[in-house]
Symmetry: D2
């Protein structure tokens, strides 16, 4: 995991440790639904946790903070898993700041961050870390998942088009041809590992890196996990479509208090998130309603996110009506089980030797790579078909 000690990643670690010890139920794990019985998925308890991180807070402290600030998890559970988390802590390596902007740099702790001399060197170092991790634990497969803080929208450059050009650009010290998230993506690919971008950052959405993934037969997917408000949107919007109700406006206000929120105080980063959130409606509904998505940082909420959506729609005979919803969820807790699901599903592709975009995983993402379909149900059906077929 990239951002290995953040809210989501530390919750993933706690969850895997708890599943290992059979301390918790399967609630929240998609891949534990009957649909996935006997489809040859690895056991969640067999997953080994590792990653990269630029901050120095250990996993155990991150989990403790979520417990005491946001009232998450049972304290006994945290205690019973602490030894495991400490063991996994040794699998976490220094992240890179190559390609990072000032907001991310501001989060980094001395001793945890690495200023690699060139992007190419960063990629090489990270790929070597991943390979070593895999060898050390004798893992069949490794899945690299980006859970680091969102980056601002990245500039598209000519060198991103072809792998050959990209390689050349990356070797120049100080080159900013790729944002950090894409360096991790390339490192994963070069290490022959599946890559998943659970954030709205650029990640593997770079033609040259996808070209390279194709050459090496590496499966990948992203972008931006569909965990809360967007998930609701992707089932509600089809409802309006199926009843031929005309959505006039859809306004969403998101307030959140975790590091994700703090990073989103930066207007450029926020833009990246908002764009990702705003894409799906038109595709599902067919028309283009007026939309407005706001994100506000409200520190007192800690890891909790509250979203209010107001939907103004027109029905028969020109009648205007409305619907509102309020979503109150703990972000890390919503995301963590999906990370475990994606790991299991990606490992399955690795074992089958299938590279390229895992389009059947679209239902996990706000902005799925290579998929225009945002209707949750159609996406779900595609996943079911893929699972049944292969």
């Amino acid at each position: 995991m990239i951002g290995a000690c953040g809210g989501v990643a530390s919750t993933v670690a706690l969850g895997v440790a708890a599943l290992r010890k059979r301390l918790i139920s399967a609630t929240g794990l998609v891949t534990e639904l009957p649909l996935f019985n006997q489809t040859g998925l690895i056991k969640p308890g067999s997953i080994v946790i590792g990653g990269h991180e630029i901050r120095s807070q250990p996993l155990v402290d991150a989990v403790d903070a979520l417990h005491s600030h946001a009232n998450l998890f049972d304290r006994k559970l945290v205690k019973m898993c602490a030894t495991q988390l400490q063991a996994w802590q040794r699998n976490i390596r220094c992240g890179t700041l190559c390609g990072a902007g000032p907001v991310i740099r501001g989060l980094a702790d001395k001793g945890s961050r690495k200023e690699d001399r060139s992007p190419a060197e960063a990629v090489e170092r990270i790929a070597a870390d991943i390979a070593a991790f895999r060898r050390r634990h004798r893992l069949d497969h490794a899945v690299v998942i980006n859970l680091a803080s969102s980056e601002p929208p990245a500039a598209k450059t000519a060198a991103q088009a072809r792998f050959r050009d990209l390689q050349r650009a990356l070797s120049r010290p100080g080159s900013r041809v790729l944002p950090t998230s894409s360096l991790y993506a390339l490192a994963a690919v070069e290490a022959g590992c599946a890559f998943i971008n659970f954030t709205p950052s650029l990640g593997i959405s770079v033609p040259a890196i996808q070209e390279r993934a194709g050459q090496l037969g590496v499966p990948y997917m992203g972008n931006d996990g569909k965990t809360g408000e967007s998930l609701v949107k992707s089932v509600l919007a089809p409802m309006f479509a199926m009843r031929n109700l005309s959505v006039l406006s859809w306004v969403g206000q998101n307030i959140l208090g975790n590091r994700d929120g703090a990073v989103l105080k930066d207007p450029r980063t926020r833009l990246s998130k908002i764009r990702s959130k705003d894409k799906m409606l038109s595709q599902i509904i067919g028309s283009k309603p007026a939309t407005a998505v706001s994100i506000e940082y409200v520190p007192s909420l800690d890891d909790w996110k509250v979203a209010w959506d107001f939907i103004h729609f027109e029905g028969f005979l020109g009648t205007k009506m409305s619907m509102q919803f309020v979503w109150q969820g703990a972000d890390s807790v919503l995301a963590a089980p999906l990370i475990i699901d994606l790991t299991r599903l990606a490992a399955r592709e690795c074992r089958a030797g299938r590279g390229g975009p895992m389009r059947h995983l679209a239902c996990f993402f706000k902005d799925p790579i290579g998929v225009r379909e945002h209707n949750m149900f159609t996406q779900w059906q595609r996943l079911a078909e893929h699972i049944a077929r292969q």
Copy 2:
């Protein structure tokens, strides 16, 4: 239409008149979605309106009342359609009070209600009315749709099991073997017309009447139109299921101000509605959350209905989270286009000579006859497959 001058029925009449004159768009009409192109549906403008009613308020007045009390419809539209509504008024016959309880009797106006001597006589009279209407207007098919006020839950009797026994029981003056809604259902069947029950009343959910419909090759469907809160539930509940989130409780409060609401003040009638609303959750979710559905009559809302639903759910690592929604819709306006859709789709079955339950129309109903599936998307897919196939 049974209850031909009620809120829904008069809105249907206004809508059909407006579609005839091309005064309104297709918004709200499911059967105008691209899916239904070239599937041989009759034109909405070709529908002729008629029905039975126990109250004396004319269609034009009913529409006017909705406009002035609930702020529905454009006044110009109402004016331009008034002549047509007056013409259709002549197709409305006296309803029966046979089998009706005190609440419904309280709504009836002298001169509009009929006290038939026996249920059998009521059935015969209504069937004759329908047949005459069909002849007079030279209609290929007639579709009888129950839009009358909800009845209390009806007693199940032995005579309801077989058509032969039912016939005998019906001929006894004063027999209460069937509630009014089922007398209409039987009359429709005897007249060889499709029957649709858009209310939670018993209607055609009587084995003996379904037996008779089978004999005569009559298509039918029900019960209780899925127009607002239940529609939302049927897309939201699958979302929780697909994410393996455990719904702990689902509480719904419905407030409404129209005649439907006034009738629901009667606790027995309300029970009938609440049962219909409460069925779907367990089927979709798999488990049985704590549920509580309330309905309150709030006269100031007129035809508007406001529903608040609170959903308490558990996610990964035992974390409790919640979602709420508020639905603010005009009941008649939400229901009316579906009546037109059901008419078109039922007429298509009639033309194809297909009798029996129209299970492919499950997505229109809260409690679909012969269908256990409540997931809106699965229901929709079945409709799409039926349309594609036939």
Copy 3:
């Protein structure tokens, strides 16, 4: 405290213990606002906890349950206060079941309840317990606060009118002339202690008991603490009044999961609560809007209460508009500091030798004894004036 180990009472105990050790801030304590500086109130930390209880769960366990089920309190705080709670546990005596209905009887544990031979004997025993408690701890004053589960509405009887008649009636074994809450009220009065009824039960709203309180110069107040939805109502309703907006309807849905909720499953008990909640609107607004208050028991919420209120109102030129609010509060935590406030304020009256209804405390109650004013601000002003004057 009557119901000394319930959710509210155990939170009070925890709070007083924590205030004693200066572990928490004054947040939530009304009497710590600047208004009350130098008004001679006792220190919250000087309060000694005791009471009566019919269940056997100790205070520490009750607090633990609130922590683990409803996610309330910091675990460290609970630990640091445990010794104090155990010490206070020794001040808790068996409650009486005299006058209790089947719902309350169902909650009682063997060993904790007492079946006194007659109501008079129960009163005597309880009064003796209180007096002993006061002597043992050398307390200047004792304040008896009813926090026990709500009772169904009590029958009014002739014997409740005069103390002489009441006395006679109480001495008859098996007499049901008073519900349990009123027996406690009388016991407090007889012991010369202030009595406060924080529930909708009858308590001290019995003329004969008030007559006796007058004789003995005992101050008292109630009924039903204004902690959540009702508090909001009592500031919002004046807003509509001050703007001359006409409230058409006010609908409230309350869902809660604690013992209070379980008791309210009983429709008769619920009625008592709903009546108390429904009184205030007309008084504040002047007119009588349509109201509907529902209460549903939703076990998964534990000590949390969620209330949704929908207010339909008419403005200038006959325009209908609406407002909704959702209140999500932890019941025990909202009530507990008010109990401490009322104790301090009642003790002040005791010291000043002022008996009778403490009307200046109306702002703490849904249904204040001897006060018709429900406007929170007017009530507050009266409290401020009383404090300033005396």
Copy 4:
């Protein structure tokens, strides 16, 4: 009225016309509450409407547009008042664009706007218009109320400090020493008429103009009418204060679809509105919670405004709880009766010969001139005292 044909002003005109003909009730009029009986207020029906406007849409059309787009008013009422509105139309003069920014200029219609040569000339022309209006209708008093679109925050300049310096600066052609709203304020003062600023624009909040008002004995008040979300805030915030609950965060999202909303699309103008909205909380609560106020333009809402507020607060023992509210109001309808109230109350001051800030009217404004108190109830009490006293 400045902005005499806008949504609010045209609703005022319709309302006054309807009151004249006794077609509507007093609902929404504060000054028709019993408190104001026999306080010598002018009759609402005796008010004569006039004003300045830069757009060419007549009053009747403005009212029609509100009816057909936003579903406001009864059509019959509009018809019965049309003649009166047309008569008043003749009292409307060309507004000035002096001091206006590009957003406002974009709204102006040729023929309705005036490009005065210097601010001084604009002031003189407007003052003359007002004086002529007053003479023509033989009015005892005239009250000038600014209802024009919000301006961006205005720069403070040295010349605004003293009337002498201001006069000099205004006579320079092209001078931008005052925004348009302040030119109107000065014109009103020079014409000896009361001035009220119902918008967040600068208006009379200029020391030099207030100095002049003092010289001429002119009463004035502002700024920014308290009509919806802010009104609710000013009763809810005191509730938290009175219960010593600590407000951690208060987030508000406002969505609206009228011209006000369109103008607020301009980020600078929006800032002016948001500042005005954000002031009150800290004053009432005492502490400074995290706040975030957003305003979004949602055209489909027309004159309707929907506000969602989320309040995160801490109670006893550090427990975090929350409250939300949703306000759905028609902006013009909420503001219009307050304009009539302010006119009556200002006329009363004029008659009594009292000049200067009318601080007793603070309860009508988001940001009351010369008043730090935002608690609605304290403000209300001040009004009641003023009325009783004088």
